[in-house]
Symmetry: C2
Subunit: 219 residues, 2 copies
């Protein structure tokens, strides 16, 4: 009787990054049944001696070999038939990382970044989880979670890159002149003095965020 209150839990990690203004997510190819060959979110069962935060950090480390990141809890998924074998309750975490730091780490494990708008075949209910959590991420970007934006753009970026990201998240275009003016006039970004130099076209000015001005700022 008492046993009917003991549940299996897992921590699911949704690692996001930006690449050329696109929102990306880091997935893992499943090597065994069920869902062998499908892509899945990195996850780990929760044992009775670990907190969910510790568990999420462990997963993050195993996927990226990095220790620190911007990470926080997202939704819990408790549908009875999430897993074909057992009932497992999934506690999701959002992590935001610098894609360039993880590009190296793709040794033998099959892991890859996917555009959130072009996902591969996903196992379990992970398509649904990604959809729901991605909605939350977008909403938070739009609605002003500056910390999160800083996590997406920790290092130098161009204003067109940033604008591109916003446009993808918002789902509509923004006027380039107004966008530029806003960030430069309000000193939300600082000119690093460097320029991009990839391919054709005029090189872009590289900026970084002005932490002072961004703090608590409504964008």
């Amino acid at each position: 009787m008492e046993n009917s209150y003991y549940n299996l839990l897992e921590t699911l990690l949704l690692i996001y990054s930006v690449d050329e203004g696109k929102l990306k997510i880091y997935l893992k190819k499943k090597q065994d049944e069920p869902y062998k060959g499908y892509w899945t979110l990195p996850s780990a069962p929760l044992d009775t001696q670990t907190t969910i935060e510790e568990n999420a950090h462990k997963i993050y480390k195993s996927m990226t070999n990095l220790d620190e990141t911007y990470m926080f809890q997202s939704k819990v998924f408790s549908d009875l038939n999430r897993d074909p074998n057992n009932r497992i309750i999934g506690i999701s975490f959002i992590a935001i990382t610098d894609k360039t730091l993880t590009d190296i780490k793709q040794d033998n494990k099959e892991v890859a970044w996917f555009d959130v708008e072009e996902l591969p075949k996903l196992g379990f209910d992970h398509a649904n989880i990604i959809e729901e959590v991605t909605k939350e991420v977008k909403r938070k970007i739009i609605v002003n979670y500056n910390d999160m934006l800083l996590a997406f753009f920790p290092s130098d970026f161009t204003l067109p890159e940033l604008q591109n990201f916003y446009e993808n998240v918002l789902g509509k275009p923004i006027d380039r002149r107004n966008f530029h003016k806003k960030y430069v006039n309000q000193e939300l970004v600082i000119d690093t003095g460097f320029k991009t130099s990839k391919g054709s076209g005029r090189p872009g000015t590289l900026y970084r965020f002005n932490l002072e001005k961004m703090k608590g700022k409504r964008i």
Copy 2:
């Protein structure tokens, strides 16, 4: 060995409401050990056949006798020593309700509304949970979760009442003229044609939110 992955879960419900511009929370007095006589959040263990959403609704119903409410997930608390006896993982939900609807329902169960700034002695880690979740609620109000504001003020209210609530959440005063102007000029509220009539002072105009204008509006 496998048993070390089975955890006890509970759903915790934080029911909020407004009263005279103050943010209130609905608590229950614990009738047995441990923490007998202390106040606690309403909660229920999660069995293996119920989703957390169903569980949260069950708790809400038992506390208010109401079926519908604005409710959503909040944080998960997984510290190892939350409960003196077992490790229990707590999944919290936020519900927002109309305090006047629940005032009736205080029969024999010892339940009461408390100002979130003046809480009683709380059992378990519930003081901590209330603090964390209340921070989230305030942040969401400030940052634009209009749905939530509508849930707090479903029916007629005066602008001074609404302003009072904002001031308590923001922690700083707002100019009355500017506040009034904003809501009336932008037609975020609609005059119901009724007036308050409680005690001394000029009666206030009763408004309700203009759902059209509030939708997606940044406040």
